[in-house]
């Protein structure tokens, strides 16, 4: 039994990334980005054990940069590390996601509050400008673009809060929920509401209406959450539909996160 269901190297690579033979272009960084992409796109499935040698062959580098990337991803919550047993893809549980959304809501509301307090009119105008520039075609853009634009909107608020830590936190959270948001946006069930939400948030910012804006944001995110509930079911279906055998359970307690 050399290998049966095991995918051969290259078959899980995103189309964009081909194996590089020449030595250049920072392997560790590239590995990080590629693996991250694999995780976001479910090419590596939840709970699955990550085989370093296989991954290394696939990316055409040695295990060293792979492990460095995986360690970074572990700190960021994408994978978990169990000593002597290796890395596992973070599980795809509903509760975990809701916790993450809750955290996101906390961070964003605080950011909005601070932005109203500290940003000058020019900066608020940057927010308005950002949204005005994309609002027109918004709903008709491809999912990936919508996702980027939406994240950009919220990240801009975090940036205008004047506290870079908030920006960083939100970036990290975004990365972790991107995979599900992508699916959710493909649903397109509530994208219309999203547009009006964003516009309303901008308006509140211009009015410096802290409480109103915070409430809007909270609702906006909560709405996203409920949409996510449905999307999650689809995701589970999508991920495990090719009758792939469910990854085996593992004992032991993963380290950190």
């Amino acid at each position: 039994m050399t290998e049966t269901s095991e995918p051969t190297p290259t078959d899980i690579l995103p189309s964009g990334a081909e194996i590089e033979t020449r030595r250049s272009a920072d392997g560790s960084e590239r590995a990080y980005n590629t693996i991250r992409k694999l995780l976001v796109e479910f090419k590596l499935k939840p709970e699955e054990r990550i085989n370093e040698v296989h991954l290394a062959k696939t990316l055409g580098v040695s295990r060293t940069p792979i492990r460095e990337a995986l360690n970074r991803l572990a700190s960021e919550g994408f994978v978990s590390l169990t000593p002597n047993r290796g890395f596992f893809v973070r599980s795809l549980s509903t509760e975990g996601l809701l916790d993450l959304y809750e955290l996101r809501s906390i961070i964003e509301c605080a950011a909005f509050r601070l932005m109203c307090d500290r940003a000058d009119d020019d900066q608020i105008d940057r927010l308005r400008g950002y949204w005005d520039a994309i609002v027109d075609g918004y709903r008709d853009h491809p999912p990936d673009v919508i996702l980027t634009e939406d994240e950009g909107f919220h990240l801009l608020i975090a940036e205008l809060s004047g506290n870079p830590e908030l920006f960083n936190q939100l970036s990290a959270i975004n990365a972790r929920i991107r995979f599900i948001r992508r699916i959710q946006i493909e649903h397109r069930s509530h994208n219309k509401n999203q547009v009006s939400s964003h516009s309303a948030i901008v308006a509140a910012a211009i009015r410096r209406d802290v409480e109103g804006g915070v409430e809007l944001l909270r609702q906006h995110i909560e709405m996203t959450v409920s949409a996510t509930q449905q999307a999650l079911k689809d995701a589970l279906l999508k991920v495990f539909s090719p009758s792939e055998p469910t990854a085996r359970k593992h004992r032991g307690r993963p380290r950190s996160a």
Copy 2:
């Protein structure tokens, strides 16, 4: 000039950790803990470039586990990584710290809110019990103990919020500001206030007084911040006082954080 001011291996090691010759005890994890300790205790100074080979020799392991540890520490904001130039100790700037405290305040207030909302009476009683058990000798404990107890108190609130992400976030933040908190506690300037603050917060939790408790927390942390301002000056003095030549500036932009 082989080495003059360069510290020889072993002279920066915390007394607890001696070089292990035998192979066991998970080198990467141990390296992580040791380096983290060095950072917290200013044995590695802000802005300083980290020499991997030197560190490896000091810890008695090869560079591989060192690099794994440093990558983790980079994700957690302790050090930064500039490609081809290596790891640098995170800088010790006032603004950065204030941002971190602000984030901490946001997380903690949200956690308190959620705790009041979701924790049952038994859980609230755990908080009361935790504080009752340590309140007596609190002010007379050694700084490290106070720090652990204080962090434990706040972490317990985060835990009782029912959202593990909040707990994780707060843990990460705590780790990053621990070095300065330690110095600040040695000051002991406001430890008395701290005791009454904690008691008041517990009381608010028992009353399920969300707004009151949040306000107390906010003040509690703000007070800590102002104490930190002073502590920071001391820290800078302490760190750079042995007339150590200031680490040289470096060009280039560090990656991530």
